[in-house]
Symmetry: C2
């Protein structure tokens, strides 16, 4: 009769207000009431993305928005650079090559961030690059790439910065206009505390010019058509996911009430909490300085079977964590603490992880771990996140 | 304080069981529990489509599934025939020409069905046709095209029959394998009594061969990739809309309990009810013999402002109906009675329509209309639908 606690990097638990909204009966999407709701959602999404440009909602998973970004911004034969430091970096590469785009891959070891030096070197090798495709947060490793620095470096160059913000928007700061991001996209099931099924994408002025020049042949992911609908009367090209949008309105209302600085502060504090716990347990963190907020990747002690640890957490403690992917499979635990998760859930998650590693014969310290974690949480809540993220 | 009643051809009102399922908290989509649910859903969808082939769920609106059908089944330069008797027939044409497919258009007057004669003539003009794209139900007019006859006619020809079943699947019979449909697709917000955001598509064996030969360059609408995931372990390529799929499982459970014959019988009886009411009011039906179940298009008396009628229905009676599109704008009312709608809702809808037309100075008979409608409903419920639909 224990509760299940979903501590994965998406989907995340949903606030009760959102769940009740999702249960509401249908309204018609082309009638004035829903059009007015879409208008409010548009304002809220621009506030969330920190942009003056329209934010387009698509009925798709986040990979749909990634596909839309590639097919609208680039043509067959265009050259792009992919920052590949994990599974989602690889996905950028797969999408781009599906559409005949010439992709230069900058590989960084899984767990490490990209540096400006890497990019400088790659640009010498690929001089005709029209865009750089990167994750803000690489969900497969829990690394936060330095988007602000990359944007600054690219500002004077005719190269579009395309950022997958799927596990970053609503979790850590990513002000689109201020930093100079050319394309920012996200999904509904991470920071936005909604089920999956909606994705969002916004383009800078110069990115829109590129789309207008390209005249992409896209029927479903037709960003110019969607923008026209928004500007004309806040509508969508195709039937939108009505109840997810109603839930989004509720979620963005909760964000408005709290203010994004407080949303980010909480995510930051929970991140400090889990990192402190892992270190106190004597475990190693995969990402050192540049780490995702809302997700912590923790290396398991040598010889411990990661799948057995996850199963023990789930079956004995009702704690659902994610494992490593590909080369990291069985070797790390990805501890999610994004969305509607609080310190109490995280305490339960830390305890479950600690006891499950021990049950799988892994070496793990247990002294005072929860106390140290809670102290780190309270300290980080009081102090807030460092200024250079703002 | 009156209730709002949604009587449009999608979205439709949702059963309470479905709404409560939609409100459930998230589970993780890659864990064994959800994989098992996807396995059950797969069996139910094959039962619903009456096919032995996998039915793929996509995170998209129905137009996404239409796009997937076109880009997977046909290549640039292929010739297809489009049955265009309304807005959604036009959509087939728009999708096909977006992707450089050579489209022959068979125009039929809005409100009329296609005939085999039309198709025979067109095939003489376009001898290299690789597929015929048609709506089972053309939602903009309420016409039911004769899919069974078309399928029979095409059986011995190397021409794929691609059927948009968006406002037909779960509403009127459309047995994919028995009739010989090569591609059947639908959306979640019509017969399936769910919010929009999910679409479904299934291909015949010969259609799959075509996709294998084409090797389409599709990242998001990658049907071969989705089929592999289903066959391997009931999973999806991308993060699926978790709560819509949970709601789908509930809905298909309701269908299983009732049996599809009874679901269809109810839709048939409600259709007879509304058609009888319209005739009793002295109004003309747009579609004569070949009419959609679950949606009735009714011509308004000359000179009556259709928008004013709809507004009166909505504002005075809380009845939400749909209007005509394009050339039919302002001239017809589309009265939806699909999904979770019963005779009581339809009685309210008929009454609202009758009084609103009168309020807009339209000529309309009111004598005994509801009694005649109810008698038609009860008779059709008892007798069931004609055998040639089975």
């Amino acid at each position: 009769m224990d509760k299940m606690r979903l501590l994965t990097p998406g989907p995340t638990p949903l606030p009760e207000e959102v769940r009740l909204t999702l249960a509401m009966d249908m309204v018609h999407h082309r009638k004035p009431g829903f059009t007015a709701l879409l208008g409010e959602i548009q304002k809220d999404l621009q506030w969330l993305f920190e942009t003056s440009q329209p934010v387009i909602s698509l009925a798709s998973s986040g990979s749909g928005a990634m596909t839309a970004a590639v097919t609208n911004l680039f043509k067959k034969g265009d050259q792009v650079l992919i920052i590949e430091g994990g599974k989602f970096g690889e996905r950028w590469g797969n999408i781009a090559s599906t559409y005949g785009i010439d992709t230069g891959i900058i590989s960084v070891p899984w767990g490490k961030p990209i540096t400006i030096g890497h990019i400088e070197t790659a640009l010498r090798q690929y001089p005709k690059v029209k865009g750089i495709l990167v994750q803000a947060s690489e969900t497969s490793t829990g690394v936060l790439h330095p988007i602000k620095e990359i944007a600054e470096y690219l500002r004077e160059k005719d190269i579009l910065l395309v950022v997958d913000g799927i596990s970053a928007v609503g979790i850590s700061p990513l002000p689109m206009d201020k930093w100079g991001i050319d394309c920012l996209l996200t999904g509904s099931q991470k920071g936005l505390m909604l089920p999956p099924g909606l994705s969002f994408i916004s383009l800078s002025e110069r990115a829109w010019k590129r789309v207008e020049e390209n005249r992409p042949r896209e029927f479903y992911f037709n960003l110019l058509g969607e923008r026209d609908k928004i500007l004309k009367n806040s509508q969508t090209l195709f039937t939108p996911p009505i109840n997810l949008l109603m839930g989004l309105h509720t979620c963005l209302g909760l964000f408005r009430q709290q203010g994004m600085e407080n949303v980010f502060r909480r995510q930051w504090a929970l991140t400090q909490m889990v990192r402190t716990a892992a270190t106190a347990m004597g475990l190693t963190l995969l990402a050192e300085d540049h780490y995702t907020w809302g997700l912590t990747s923790i290396k398991l002690p040598e010889g411990v079977d990661g799948q057995a640890v996850l199963s023990c957490c789930a079956e004995r403690y009702g704690i659902i964590l994610a494992g490593g992917q590909d080369s990291l499979k069985g070797r790390i635990v990805r501890f999610g603490h994004m969305g509607h998760v609080d310190y109490g859930d995280v305490l339960a998650g830390i305890m479950a992880l600690m006891h499950s590693i021990a049950a799988c014969d892994g070496e793990v310290k247990t002294d005072n771990v929860l106390e140290q974690a809670m102290a780190a949480y309270e300290k980080a809540s009081d102090e807030g996140y460092p200024e250079d993220f703002a």
